[in-house]
């Protein structure tokens, strides 16, 4: 008695599995669709998270600086307000060694919110005098930079007295040069904006004066001094700082020196680590999204298990026939595995197709969202599909294997 030739035997079992699925096309298709939907949810939510984080990180890396200074306890994604004061900026400027200040430039950033391009955007308040550092070499492709705002910022920084509140017209005239916005090309394309368009923000009408290449750290830029004037009465507050170091300094050593100077009020990080900080800040949301899609996916595989289990019950007599013909218990488990894997692989294909379609749909409806579908994610989807299919088939396969052939043949 010899073991059957493996290829022919496996081909026969595979053909039988395929025939079984084709015999219940609708049920098999629904199972595959369920798996596909679960995988799509997982791929899109993961892709949205990783895509957004990667895109923000890439933009932040464009700033000509080596270090970032962030609020000590704040989540850098969901941060709000401007916790740093003028004193902090002084500390940063004053941190020095024997050769002088460590920072060649301290670049304060003041965050705000504005609705542009159909969604909320983080507004980056940046000193017009430091715009070149912030743009990191990105070109202006339409209009101009904060040319008029430069003068306004200089007047504010010089301590020029504000007009009294009793004279709104004079105050409006004082602010007028500062009400400028620069946006990036992607936002301009998505929102259909043109240079000269106006935007309502903080109770004032801002004018879009320029468009810069995509890739700048912020999609919407406003003069730092204007935002401070409108939100914190001109105080030298900041949401974060970029630090451009004096040439030749070791960034790690410099970061430690700045950290010592700032104490527990801030954390000083390498700009190259910003991606990790984003991921850490997003971890709790990511966990929630992963858990949600994981539960959805597990439910989908339960659907396969139920399908396979139902098939085993319905095909009890057929299982008895297969046993009579000499299919081993292991062979029946394999048959169940084959069927579940075929469903799962179809589900993976459906899931990837749906994910690509949803990415395209999101790109059309919410163009500023970035859904990233990497080879690694697709491989993970395939692995999950195969693993889930395998686990879903084990119990039904075990049930089939344990059936008594003589009794199974009598099943009605």
């Amino acid at each position: 008695m010899t073991a059957p030739a493996a290829p022919a035997y496996h081909a026969a079992m595979l053909a039988l599995a395929w025939a079984n699925l084709m015999h219940h096309k609708l049920r098999a298709a629904l199972s595959a669709l369920a798996v596909g939907t679960g995988l799509m949810l997982m791929l899109v939510s993961r892709g949205l998270a990783t895509g957004s984080i990667r895109e923000v990180n890439q933009r932040m890396q464009s700033v000509a600086a080596e270090l970032v200074v962030l609020p000590a306890q704040d989540n850098i994604i969901f941060t709000s307000g401007a916790p740093f004061r003028g004193l902090h900026e002084q500390h940063l400027r004053g941190t020095a060694d024997a050769e002088g200040p460590l920072a060649a430039a301290v670049i304060p950033i003041f965050f705000g919110q504005v609705r542009l391009g159909g969604q909320q955007q983080r507004l980056f308040g940046i000193d017009p005098a430091q715009l070149d550092l912030f743009l990191g070499g990105r070109r202006v492709i339409a209009g101009r930079l904060f040319d008029r705002a430069v003068g306004f910022a200089a007047r504010v920084d010089a301590g020029e007295p504000r007009p009294p509140e009793s004279d709104p017209a004079a105050y409006d005239a004082f602010l007028a040069d500062g009400l400028e916005l620069v946006i990036d090309e992607r936002l301009q394309r998505v929102g259909g904006y043109r240079v000269g368009d106006t935007v309502q923000l903080l109770g004032r009408v801002f004018r879009i004066v320029g468009v810069v290449e995509t890739g700048v750290a912020g999609r919407v830029l406003a003069p730092l001094q204007t935002l401070r004037e409108l939100t914190v009465a001109g105080e030298r507050h900041a949401s974060m700082y970029f630090l451009k170091l004096r040439p030749g300094l070791d960034p790690v050593g410099a970061a430690e020196a700045f950290q010592r100077r700032m104490g527990e009020t801030a954390r000083v990080e390498l700009k190259s680590e910003y991606g990790r900080l984003l991921r850490e800040s997003f971890a709790s949301v990511d966990l929630y999204m992963t858990a949600s899609s994981g539960v959805a996916l597990a439910t989908c595989f339960l659907f396969i298990l139920l399908t396979m289990h139902t098939m085993v019950i319905e095909r009890t007599r057929e299982i008895g026939i297969l046993k009579a013909l000499g299919v081993t218990r292991l062979g029946l488990v394999r048959l169940s595995l084959c069927e579940a894997l075929l469903i799962s692989l179809a589900g993976v294909a459906i899931g990837i197709t749906l994910a690509v379609a949803v990415r395209g749909l999101l790109g059309a409806v919410v163009p500023l969202l970035t859904v990233e579908l990497t080879g690694g994610q697709l491989l993970a989807a395939l692995t999950l599909g195969v693993l889930g299919g395998t686990l879903s088939a084990l119990y039904p396969g075990w049930r089939a294997a344990r059936l008594d052939p003589a009794a199974a043949l009598l099943y009605e």
Binding site: M1, T2, A3, P4, A5, A6, P7, A8, Y9, A11, A12, A15, L16, A19, N20, M22, H23, R317, E318, G320, I321, L322, K323, A324, L325, G326, V327, T328, R329, L330, D404, P405, A406, L409
Partner: protein, 234 residues
């Protein structure tokens, strides 16, 4: 009728079997002895519930006996064999024909017939078409079983049972669901196979079928009633 070999295809001694349901044990077979030689055509008859199908299931290695001195099938002692060993022996040496045909509904007639060969890893080309032609189903090879008449289904089942030229063919009421014409056709096929040397053990209620057999054994209440089975002749 073909000359038989002295080689025993079935050698059963002191076979007992009982079913247990809800703690109640119901004896079905009581110390059966059975010898079937290679090439022999044996028919087992008896009233419903006398234990015929239980005996056939044991001979077909689909049921392990409660107790026996020996159950040798195709030269192999099967007592103490694992489920996997019994399954492999079934695949290698046995063929089954059932009253209810038991074709797999999801695959074609040709695929049904080819399945035992594929499970053995044996080549299919040529064998299956020739066999289908022999049983008069060459034109129905691509059909699903439900597209065949009951007579055609049973002929397909018979083709599947013998496609591997098994050492032993076990048939459980193969004509039980057929009209007389189809029953005659199936019996004719069985007789042809027997003439070619096929060992057959068949259960039937049909006295007419029994006349084709080398031996007819009658069972009642789990025992053969014809005396010593190995020597009883029609």
């Amino acid at each position: 009728m073909r000359a038989m070999s002295d080689e025993l295809m079935i050698a059963v001694r002191d076979l007992h079997h009982a079913y247990t349901h809800g703690g109640v044990t119901e004896p079905v077979l009581h110390g059966l002895d059975l010898h079937v030689r290679r090439g022999e055509f044996v028919v087992i008859m008896g009233p419903s519930g006398c234990g015929k199908t239980t005996l056939l299931n044991i001979l077909g290695l689909m049921l392990a006996p409660s107790r026996a001195a020996s159950v040798r099938i195709a030269g192999r002692e099967t007592l103490g064999c694992s489920d996997a060993e019994r399954t492999r022996l079934r695949r290698a040496a046995l063929g089954f024909v059932f009253q209810r045909f038991n074709l797999l509904p999801t695959i074609s007639v040709a695929q049904n017939v080819a399945l035992p060969l594929r499970l053995r890893g044996a080549p299919v080309n040529g064998v299956v078409p020739a066999l289908l032609k022999r049983v008069g189903l060459a034109e129905h090879a691509a059909k699903k079983p439900r597209q065949l008449s009951v007579g055609q289904q049973q002929r397909a089942a018979l083709a599947r049972a013998v496609v591997t030229r098994p050492a032993l063919l076990l048939a459980d009421e193969p004509t039980g669901n057929l009209d007389s014409a189809n029953a005659a056709a199936v019996l004719s096929l069985l007789a042809d196979l027997h003439a070619e040397g096929q060992t057959i053990v068949m259960i039937t209620h049909n006295e007419q079928l029994a006349v084709r057999a080398d031996r007819v054994l009658h069972m009642r209440d789990g025992r053969f009633v014809d005396g010593t089975p190995g020597h009883t002749r029609v």
